[in-house]
Symmetry: C2
Subunit: 138 residues, 2 copies
Amino acid sequence: MFGRLNHVGVATPSIARDRARYARLFGEAAVGEPLAMPDQGVTVCFVDAPNTQIELIEPLDDASPVAAFLARNPGGAQHHLCFEVADLDAALDAQAAAGARVLGAPRIGAHGTRIVFLHPREMGGVLIELMEAPDGGH
Amino acid sequence: MFGRLNHVGVATPSIARDRARYARLFGEAAVGEPLAMPDQGVTVCFVDAPNTQIELIEPLDDASPVAAFLARNPGGAQHHLCFEVADLDAALDAQAAAGARVLGAPRIGAHGTRIVFLHPREMGGVLIELMEAPDGGH
């Protein structure tokens, strides 16, 4: 079973462009520092909403998977939903058994726990990230 | 300032198709009954995640604005993010002053409070719904 919505991923052509607007929307203290993740080809920046986060995602270069997504949505667009799970391996087994397509092997995400993506085709058109809960789901 | 993420709107060609999957993901009790909103040309269905909701949105007919969105995303796709605000009129004034484009006049939404949408162009490509908080923001 899925747990809380950890964050909404939003692709953007420019985190710098968006930080000022999100500071107006949620307050200066809600907007984190940009974090380069070269292994994943992106820079990310988390914004705290009261009950979840928004993850701004900017491609590091044209080879980034997010670059292709932005080519179709040049101004930015909602990219994925990330839900926490207590046990990532059990969740993946259950999802695969239900017909979901797991995209690659789990890796360490921006919050320091294991993450993996599920293809949108079997998820109602929504790209899903599963994240091992930072607190183990408790 | 924006408050909590009330829900993520997800357009779907078939709420019936999606209800069984969301029941597997969040439990049977988390999936509400479909609610026809003929004034808005859609049927909606809310799914409870632990900290927010997912609003499934299915067009009632081809004239629905969501039908055009689904024509571009036939399998379904993320459609909007809805944030609560304590005072909708004050929030709209602040957003308009900051350059946001308000789409029409506020109307009563599926939760029984006033809602209004902001055009994605000025919001980083994200269609934003603002909802007067059901509890007045407290």
